[in-house]
Symmetry: none
Subunit: 228 residues, 4 copies
DNA sequence: TATGAATGAGCTTTCATTCAT
DNA sequence: CATGAATGAAAGCTCATTCAT
């Protein structure tokens, strides 16, 4: 954990340091990241670094909390209200959040991907809870709920499906961001909303259709399609 | 490329070195891998290393060719015949190969994952062909064929779906291997075949159902399920 | 160029390092010089070296500027005034400076000789000016002036003579210094001045006579000699 | 000294090795020369090298004997006959030999220059004879003879003048070779003789005039010049 | 508290030399 | 006698971390 000294720093300096760290960790995994690169980009003295952080891993975990915070912020910034979501609207929202995050904070998204890659050692067991880590808890809950609500087919292997959704969520965002091309820049600049733009929603529809059709007890979308 | 000296080495020694390298590259990306670790694990002198390889990147790319070769070997070892495959049987085969590879050569699979992770920079454009790299060509072809054969719905966005299948293929194998638990060890030991064991095939059925239902023009499986 | 860190060092330490470097570069050309030797003689850590200099070539070029500076210092310490010099007195001064430099800073003189030897590739053409490098510009100017002043014979091939004077200047100093024997030590100790001591000046007279007689339009010295 | 094994080698192979060594030693002083470079250029096995020579210094000194031999060959190839030479004709001949050697065997000349540079530590005393080394014996004898024959002025400091001629001889050849430009190539090709070509001899005349005028008791050349 | 100089272990790479075949 | 694989010392250089100011 960063020292009190770091927490008391004037915000601008703190942000400067965090920004430098984010740039570094977005480019390299913790193991290859360089203290030198960070302090020189942040414009602080090498000694100061060690007054703020125990070591580079300490800074890295601090950055990870920032990543989580921003990710949450993005999720909450999406207009839909959690309570009223049916199962698949929730899933769509999660994926939209991932893309929005990718577009608005590509460096943080990159850090998140590194982290996921290096910590998701499937088969590794969390020594505290004894549960498998990596399989995303959120999707587990989502799928269980979906079955209860009769939205999701009962034959679906919840654990595996949750894992699959996890890797799709983690991997698809950069692809979609890139597919959006010019539109992504506009979203990043705040000139366009991911939820209002119809070409973007078409792309999402397509993805959601695939997933929904794969999971749903009674998939509507394709029926609509073929009945059109 | 490894030197002739390396290629002329007695097989046992060559394997020793390759094994040490595989262990290293399965644990760390090229950038963090250490010559020291490799030579000390292989039990050779440091100077010898540089008689065999130009540098560590040279060894790494040599190991990558081994990975490809073994992967192909696994794919070809699967009993199904390419010619007679319908669309989704082909997909199942690809995924089974990924799992089989993961079980039989977990280190090589890890190396492959590192490689994929570090080279799949989605959005990076191949300067020669102008095409997006990372999206898997194989799945592109598979989906296009599937549409032609009326197996896959015409509304599917082929490019996106191919990318999605790519990340599922790359990510699901370690999960499945881990799910198989004891059975995985038996497969690794050659006591069990992935294609014959029914609990394993059940798991595959489940995954394939999700994917097939998501993509298929006229998904059969679930119908069968509900009619049971 | 040495880093600011090096420039901010306490003088004693800086001198210590420069002295170690001078010792090394006086004994070996840049190509064979060793960082290890320098740091161990200077009593600093290897890491420190690379905080001061980019690499050994950086240090070497720094030492070369010291050599130039000291050489100039020696030239300027000679009492004669440039303005009033006739042609051959100027030449004598240049040669005296070379000897004085050799005696007072034999290591720097050695470094200068290495540098001259390795950079004077006669026949190599300066890509910017298109002129031959290595032939000494100073002597060129000196000879041209001498011809204008009617001090030097018009038949002299200026380019070649300049080159010849250059190599004589570069090579004769160690010889003369050695010839001076005990006297050289006294000069080095500041107990004797090169310009006041008559045995020394006799030696110079002899050399100058040879050169002057060889170049002069109307050589006086030998006439005097034979008329004595 | 090279081993008997080396001496028994078929000539073509011996020449191959010597040629590779010459190329290396012409580019670098012994201290920086590389066994690797030599064996790979010579196309022999590394182990063979150590069957022919004790170490690289051994090969180097073998090459030095070749240099001396070839130099002598060049000197003797010049048409003038030693016996009939007056003093300055002898000097001209020595310098012409140096230039001829430079032109016909530039690599050997380079090796010779390296050797001269690294061994001529003026002031170093030969431990066996007790004499100063580096000052050229030949020029000593030449000057002494010249004085006896009344060709050279008695006031000349023989030791110093010999040294000076030594460095001029050693340094001027590459310059002159370069001055000759296209003509040098013709000489190297055997299409032109250094002693017959009048532009070349003009250049030599100029140099000799300078040296002769500087040393001669009764210099003729300039007199001729002014009387023209 | 901020600084940046100092450190030395560690890295990759080179190379002369030895030695088994 | 020829070969070329094996070796390890030593090179240049980097870097996280400590410490004195």
């Amino acid at each position: 954990m960063p020292t009190e000294t770091f927490r008391n720093l004037p915000e601008s300096k703190r942000l400067q340091i965090e920004h430098a760290a984010i740039t570094e960790f977005a480019a390299k995994p913790l193991q290859s990241a360089s203290v030198n690169a960070i302090v020189s980009q942040a414009g602080i003295a090498k000694g100061s670094f060690y007054q703020y952080f125990e070591n580079i891993a300490d800074l890295h975990s601090h950055i990870l909390t920032i990543v989580s915070k921003k990710k949450l912020e993005v999720i909450n910034s999406l207009p839909l209200d959690n309570a009223n979501l049916d199962t698949f609207r929730y899933l769509r929202r999660v994926l939209q959040a991932a893309v929005e995050f990718q577009i608005r904070y590509p460096e943080l998204a990159s850090i998140e991907r590194f982290e996921r890659f290096y910590s998701d050692q499937p088969g590794s067991i969390d020594p505290e809870t004894g549960e498998r880590v990596g399989g995303d808890r959120r999707f587990h809950a989502f799928l269980t709920q979906g079955i209860l609500h009769d939205d999701i087919a009962t034959w679906v292997d919840v654990d595996m499906a949750a894992f699959m959704l996890g890797i799709v969520e983690g991997g698809i965002a950069p692809y979609l961001a890139e597919r959006l091309g010019e539109r992504a820049s506009q979203i990043a600049a705040g000139e366009l909303s991911i939820v209002d733009d119809s070409p973007i929603q078409d792309l999402f529809d397509n993805l959601m259709d695939i997933l929904e059709a794969g999971l749903a007890r009674d998939p509507q979308i394709r029926k609509d399609f073929y009945s059109k």
